[in-house]
């Protein structure tokens, strides 16, 4: 690229980003990599959303109409894997890459080339998940993995070649996440502006400290498990095969040892963004900063020792069920501390309700429902009735859409003007919020009732008494899906349309933090000279 001058010869002229595709392929700049994560995550959010619409189309009425049972199982599996690994995690990692150096006054991430590799492992992983569908069109294989995102053995051992693609994808995702986590951790620990103590680090960065530690602690377990699955499938090992002396429940333990902390890996980064947004629009300092930091730690540590509450019906002894129930209930305390601090931040503030604030408030309400129903599910006795029903499906969508996805919308609307230098359409943003929160409840509130009435999850066809509520849920899902196009339009219009008002440096009247001392959009290189922290 001719535009790039050799940095060594003209060190002080190296201010502009390189042009063309190599800017992105060779990217080491945290804003470029952050942007790529955000674009990739948004794209995959729509891929996962499209799969969700397929699921709801099939479930709209009893009888098999849209998908075959084989295809249905594949669609629900890839919906889960894509949303968790390819949509929400990259979006939170994108925010981390873009924002953390700006928030702590660092010139870039600590390990820029590792950062590049961490991102570029993601697209191949996503392709591996959907490629088997493409191969099937040419008569190769049976489509993609069809076991549900939990990939329980020995169903996974029976599954077609799509399962191999998925396990390799998990390995790539694990490498990517682990590298990104190490990078974020090193950046926060070593690259802070001189004078910024750990207890002055903004809460979003703190939430990522815990997220990164969790990822480093638990993802290797899933990667090891995936390798065991692959060797079971191809090299005659019997880790999970009872016929060979192995144990199918072992996989459940490995998976949930990863899978439960994963819930908090998805949740914590947006729980970290929330106080920034609430404090800005309440024009009031964050309430209980230290309490929130300690809650993040408590949630992170506890999340590692409660995994088997996903396995209350697997046949564990009563003592194990009791332990996992009591330890799970304990997590309600630090989570309640977070809620209390969010309320404390709002209380006696001077609130206005711009789009980011609306989504932040929506987060509190929806995630509140997810949290409270989680308390219900922690009961090992009652869980006999809720487990693997639509009650569970509704619960984790309230927790994961209501939490992380609403939080991501809040964060994107909050920081978009900072990133692009333009304001988005507030009108469209409000439409997006109100349609989303109404449609979301229309989709998932009926699912609580369906679960209570006895509808199991992961079935492509169901008994007649479940028909009316499924119809409501599906209609809601179509509105919810279509609503997200407003978001896409609004973001694209802000980035490319150049019609929005120019954003000031502070963007929002009450915004605090180093990132709002920079111009909007920030130049390619920022904080080459560290800011002064009083």
């Amino acid at each position: 690229m001719s535009a790039v001058k050799p940095a060594a010869a003209h060190p002080d002229e190296h201010h502009e980003p390189p042009r063309g595709i190599t800017r992105w392929l060779y990217a080491t700049n945290h804003k470029d990599i952050g942007t790529m994560y955000l674009v990739f995550g948004t794209l995959m959010l729509f891929v996962g959303g499209l799969l969700a619409e397929l699921i709801r189309s099939e479930l709209m009425t009893p009888a098999m109409r849209v998908l075959s049972p084989e295809a249905y199982n594949q669609v629900i599996t890839v919906h889960g894997l894509v949303m968790v690994f390819a949509a929400v995690m990259p979006l939170t990692a994108g925010l981390a890459n873009y924002l953390i150096p700006l928030m702590i006054g660092a010139p870039d991430m600590a390990l820029p080339r590792l950062n590049n590799w961490g991102f570029w492992l993601l697209p191949p992983a996503a392709i591996l998940l959907v490629l088997p569908w493409g191969l099937k069109l040419f008569g190769i294989g049976t489509g993609t993995i069809d076991t549900g995102w939990t990939m329980y053995a020995p169903l996974s051992t029976q599954s077609g070649p799509g399962a191999d693609f998925a396990f390799v994808a998990v390995l790539l995702l694990g490498l990517s996440s682990t590298m990104a986590s190490i990078n974020i951790l090193v950046t926060i620990l070593n690259q802070r502006a001189p004078g910024m103590t750990l207890m002055q680090v903004p809460l979003f960065a703190w939430s990522w400290v815990i997220t990164a530690l969790l990822l480093i602690a638990v993802f290797p377990a899933l990667m090891a498990g995936s390798i065991m699955q692959i060797t079971d499938r191809h090299f005659g090992t019997h880790f999970f095969s009872a016929a060979g002396g192995g144990d199918p429940v072992l996989w459940e333990h490995i998976f949930w040892f990863f899978g439960h902390p994963e819930v908090y890996i998805l949740l914590l980064p947006t729980a970290g963004v929330l106080p920034h947004v609430l404090s800005t629009f309440a024009r009031k300092p964050v309430y209980g900063y230290e309490a929130q930091v300690y809650s993040f730690w408590a949630i992170g540590l506890m999340s590692i020792v409660v995994w088997a509450h996903h396995m209350f019906t697997s046949g564990m002894p009563a003592a194990a069920n009791i332990y996992f129930m009591l330890s799970t209930m304990a997590i309600s305390i630090p989570v309640a501390v977070l809620f209390f601090c969010w309320f404390g931040t709002l209380w006696r503030g001077s609130m206005t309700f711009e789009t980011p604030m609306l989504f932040a408030l929506g987060y509190i309400v929806l995630f509140g429902i997810g949290g409270l129903t989680g308390l219900v599910l922690s009961d090992a006795a009652a869980d006999q009735q809720y487990h693997n029903t639509y009650f569970l499906v509704a619960h984790f969508h309230y927790a994961l859409f209501g939490g992380p996805v609403m939080g991501l919308f809040a964060a994107i609307y909050y920081y978009l003007p900072k990133m692009t230098g333009r304001m988005f359409s507030e009108r469209l943003g409000r439409w997006h919020f109100w349609l989303t929160i109404i449609a979301f409840n229309v989709v998932f509130m009926p699912q609580f009732l369906l679960g209570i009435a006895g509808m199991p999850r992961r079935i492509p066809d169901y008994a007649l008494q479940f028909a009316p509520l499924n119809m409501v849920s599906s209609l809601g899902a179509f509105v919810l899906g279509a609503t997200q196009l407003l978001f896409l339009y609004n973001v694209l219009q802000t980035v490319f349309g150049r019609s929005g008002a120019k954003a000031s440096d502070r963007v929002w009247e009450g915004a605090q933090g180093l990132e709002f001392t920079l111009p909007s959009p920030p130049p390619f290189h920022t904080f080459s000279t560290p800011p002064v922290i009083e």
């Binding site: 009872a242 300092p285 009791i322 009591l326 006895g454 079935i459």
Partner: protein, 404 residues
């Protein structure tokens, strides 16, 4: 938990019922199914209690949030406060109240009834009868060791209804050919095993859901307090037939149950007697077609063409591709050559139906009677364009069974 405490909880629950939708007089389509076992009663009680508690917590939270957004909007409160943490002992005490309340809710209000029912659920001792439940892809098999009877239970909803070509029955997808029959007012221990993947035995009215894990014997128990028909489903994803393996339990009074047992014993004896009969090809074909459609068509399809990549066709001469493991097994048994499905030897055919093909989804069908096995093999070898003309008699199957 003492009896008095239980009484106290029941009274609390009765009070809760006043506001709880879960105790509406008619059990509506959005509600728990009618509980008929001690565990199910416990769980419904816990559920009602939960609903009330989380509804109160949610209302308080949402109320505070809404109040704040109205009272502390910029219009009404232009000058924001600046506090960022509790100040002074009084505020700290006040702040700790919600957390103390939550601890009590967790470990006392909800924890104690939960502990009570977890321990009750785990206690399978002193059962009056044991029934063995075996999960297969994709049907259930029930055996009553003390009575020497047992049978498979298959979905009886016709394929046409599932494909939406016929109007649906009232119990669409929740009806079987041969329900599990249990006596009321007896503690029955269920022993659960799986022959392939993880399934889960779930009947909502019984309040139990137990994963059925290959390689393990799991156990649970029921004590049904009302005669009636109770319907449930497999609750762990077990492959393409997961939605199509319902559980139907008919609970009868002990007297009716004993009567059913003797009827079932004589029915099964009659079936065993047919193993010595010699049937004509036409008889075998007719019976075989029925057995095929009921048991085999879910995978091998009603037209005998199987599913590419998963289930081999029964019709010979058709190409088939699947996992190397399955192809190798089919080849060694003589049913696959040069990429095409072949007609293997009769002895191997009988062996496959009786014992399944290890390492593939093909299960053992030893629960079928010798007549049914003979009939279905005769049918398979003379239908779908196969014309071996061979007739397999029940005696051949009995001989193969005893030779094994």
């Amino acid at each position: 938990m003492s009896g008095e405490k239980v009484q106290l909880w029941r009274r609390l629950a009765a009070a809760a019922a006043f506001v709880s939708p879960a105790r509406a007089p008619a059990r509506a389509f959005y509600n728990f199914q009618r509980p008929v076992t001690p565990i199910a009663h416990d769980v419904l009680f816990i559920h009602d209690l939960f609903l009330v508690i989380i509804a109160v917590l949610f209302t308080c939270g949402l109320g505070a949030l809404l109040y704040s957004t109205i009272a502390h909007s910029r219009r009404r409160n232009p000058h924001p406060a600046t506090f960022s943490q509790p100040v002074g002992r009084k505020q700290w005490l006040w702040v700790s109240v919600p957390f103390a309340t939550l601890l009590i809710i967790d470990y006392v209000v909800l924890g104690i009834p939960a502990l009570h029912s977890i321990l009750a659920l785990a206690d399978t001792s002193n059962a009056q009868m044991t029934v063995k439940v075996t999960a297969h892809q994709w049907h259930w098999q029930y055996q009553y060791p003390v009575y020497g009877i047992g049978f498979s239970s298959n979905l009886s909803t016709p394929q046409a209804q599932i494909a939406d070509r016929a109007p649906k029955d009232k119990h669409f997808l929740l009806e079987v050919d041969h329900p599990l029959v249990l006596p009321t007012h007896e503690k029955i221990r269920l022993i659960l095993a799986s022959t392939d993947v993880i399934h889960a035995f779930w009947v909502p009215s019984f309040g139990i859901k137990q994963d059925v894990v290959p390689g393990y014997l799991r156990e649970t128990w029921v004590d049904i307090d009302k005669p009636g028909t109770y319907r449930g489903q497999c609750a762990e994803l077990c492959g393409v037939g997961h939605a199509f393996m319902p559980i139907v339990v008919v609970a009868k009074s002990p007297a009716d149950f004993r009567q059913w047992v003797s009827q079932e014993q004589s029915r099964e004896a009659a079936v065993r007697a047919t193993a010595t009969e010699t049937l004509t090809q036409a008889q075998l074909m007719a019976r075989g077609q029925a057995v095929y459609l009921k048991n085999c068509a879910a995978c091998h399809q009603a037209n005998g063409m199987g599913l590419t990549g998963a289930f081999p066709p029964i019709a010979t001469g058709h190409p088939f591709n699947a996992s190397p493991q399955m192809l190798a097994a089919l080849k060694s048994l003589g049913f696959y050559a040069n990429g095409l499905i072949a007609e293997g030897p009769v002895a191997k055919h009988i062996r496959i139906v009786l014992h399944g093909i290890p390492g593939t989804p093909m299960p053992s069908w030893s629960s079928l009677s010798a007549v049914d096995v003979a009939a279905v093999i005769t049918f398979e070898r003379n239908a779908f364009g196969n014309h071996t003309g061979e007739v397999i008699e029940p005696a051949q199957v009995v001989a193969a069974e005893s030779a094994h």
